[in-house]
């Protein structure tokens, strides 16, 4: 599903955030991406969603080399990917329903389909009764769950999460990881960047470890 071939990323200003990164994640796999702060986790995820371009090397997603993809194709690539951020980036002037509906509106879905899918997504994250609420009236954990509902409402084949539990207490973190696990069970490929090591060790899933932009000793099943 995701393949990095000799990928390096140097930001303008000279800092090399990723160096010669190679790995492959099979379709339907749930994988963790770990590393200290500044190790390059966010950079790696952004390369997959084409939010950044690699300085060297190739990123291949579902058999397509992103390097050879036109600029105009980027939006359609992103519609296949659900992204969850540490800060959920909800739009304050829209209700929970409208926030979650945004990917469907962008993709040009019909009204009925939007209603059905948004409610299904909100139901999955346990916020169906808050659809009319505005984001400011929600707790941090609830906002994060709205962000997750928005990420999965379009049934993406790939779910990327960048420290989704960074601001949450252990209880909520566990709940959210459990949600990702559920999406993964129905076939979504999931890649979660985190430094919550306790949690992921307990789940026993493959792990990609970054240190100063380099990938450490390959963890089982996560590398070629």
């Amino acid at each position: 599903m995701i393949q990095f071939i000799q990928v390096s990323k140097r930001y303008p200003g000279g800092h090399e955030a990723l160096r010669d990164v190679n790995f492959r994640i099979p379709r339907g796999q749930m994988t963790f991406l770990t590393g200290h702060s500044g190790a390059g986790k966010s950079t790696l995820l952004r390369l997959i969603a084409r939010l950044e371009r690699p300085t060297r090397g190739q990123v291949v997603l579902a058999g397509r080399n992103l390097d050879r993809m036109s600029r105009g194709a980027t939006p359609y690539l992103r519609r296949q990917i659900g992204i969850v951020f540490q800060n959920p980036h909800l739009l304050e002037d829209r209700t929970v329903f409208d926030n979650v509906a945004l990917p469907l509106v962008i993709a040009g879905a019909g009204r009925r389909e939007i209603g059905r899918r948004v409610r299904a997504a909100l139901d999955k994250v346990g916020l169906l009764e808050r659809e009319r609420a505005y984001p400011v009236t929600l707790s941090g954990g609830e906002q994060q769950r709205v962000g997750i509902a928005r990420a999965v409402v379009n049934r993406p084949t790939l779910l990327l999460a960048d420290e989704p539990t960074g601001n949450l207490d252990p209880e909520l973190s566990r709940e959210i990881m459990h949600l990702f696990r559920q999406f993964n069970r129905v076939g979504t490929t999931v890649l979660v960047a985190t430094h919550d090591l306790d949690l992921i060790r307990r789940l026993g899933l493959p792990e990609l470890q970054l240190r100063q932009g380099r990938l450490l000793a390959p963890a089982a099943a996560a590398t070629p």
């Binding site: 962008i106 040009g108 019909g110």
Partner: protein
């Protein structure tokens, strides 16, 4: 709503989920939503609309003044004409023949023959004088042919050329043309047209700048929304659309305001204009925009609104990348 219990009802595509319906509905919704967004900041929106309205009303008002002046000059019989005074020895028949021949000339639209006898009669009647011919012993007036040039020839140079040509005719003693007045009037009108064009161009630029700046601020305020939309797969067109539609609304609002301002100005000016015209026994009054001109103002407003937002969107939207 399709209920989970009835999968066969869900399977059939609903009319409102048809791709074309979705496409149209989305645009209509964005159009309405952008109007709704403008109405949520009424003072700022109205200020923008007012600036555009005034900028559109000024050159349009100038244009109205010019076209009303032209109409007024038409009322004054200001169409340029030449008077040919014929030699006294030219016979009546020959003079009438000349008038007929001149009508065939490419530069001449119409001629009118005024025989010296008729002219004398008129003079006697109008001036209330007695029998002039009896007093003077002979008719002192010459035969006159009034010549109206075609619209093409009615320029100062064209008229001068025509006059020279007619002066060379053997029957003609003298040609008189009101060239000074024609020249002055046409000069003033050319100036007014040119001035209107310049003012119009400058104010069209103003509209572009006003709309562009408003949309730029709007883009700045909606940065987060633009970023998020781009991150979850919005095309450039999707992101651009609400801003373009805002520009369209501004332009439309400005054009409607310009209509209103012009209608009010004309109504206010017509009171003294009618009074003045009455003194000259004229029923002249100022006329507002013709339907065609009104539509042109509307179209121009919308076009400028769209163009202004297009420029702002082109310059500032690309800079916001997630």
């Amino acid at each position: 709503m399709s209920r989970p219990g009835h999968p066969e009802r869900r399977a059939r595509p609903r009319r409102d989920d048809h791709p074309l319906a979705v496409w149209l509905l989305h645009r209509a919704q964005v159009l309405v939503a952008s109007l709704g967004r403008l109405s949520r900041t009424p003072v700022a929106s109205l200020m923008t609309v007012a600036a555009i309205g005034i900028a559109l009303a000024l050159p349009t008002g100038l244009y109205l003044v010019v076209s009303n002046l032209e109409r007024l000059s038409g009322d004054w019989n200001g169409q340029p004409s030449l008077s040919l005074f014929l030699r006294t020895e030219v016979s009546d028949v020959r003079a009438r023949g000349l008038a007929g021949r001149l009508r065939q000339d490419a530069g001449i639209a119409a001629t009118r023959f005024l025989s010296r006898a008729t002219a004398l009669q008129e003079l006697e009647q109008r001036a209330g004088l007695g029998d002039i011919q009896a007093t003077l012993g002979e008719n002192p007036l010459p035969d006159v042919i009034l010549v109206r040039p075609t619209a093409v020839a009615a320029t100062p140079t064209g008229m001068a050329g025509l006059a020279r040509r007619l002066e060379a005719l053997p029957e003609v003693a003298q040609v008189r043309l009101d060239l000074d007045w024609v020249r002055r009037f046409q000069g003033i009108m050319a100036l007014a047209h040119q001035g209107t064009l310049i003012v119009g161009t400058l104010l069209a630029l103003t509209v572009l700048i006003v709309v562009g700046n408003t949309i730029r601020l709007d883009i700045e305020n909606r940065r987060e929304e633009i970023m998020v939309s781009k991150m979850i797969g919005a095309t450039d067109g999707f992101v651009r659309r609400p801003f373009l539609y805002s520009g369209l609304w501004y332009g439309l609002g400005g054009a409607l305001l310009a209509w209103l301002l012009l209608a009010l100005a004309i109504a206010a000016l017509n009171v003294p204009v009618r009074r003045l015209a009455g003194l000259y026994l004229s029923d002249f009054s100022l006329q507002g925009l013709t339907p065609e001109a009104a539509l042109a103002v509307l179209g121009l407003g919308i076009l400028l609104g769209l163009a202004g937002s297009w420029l702002a969107v082109g310059r500032h939207l690309g800079a916001i990348e997630p």
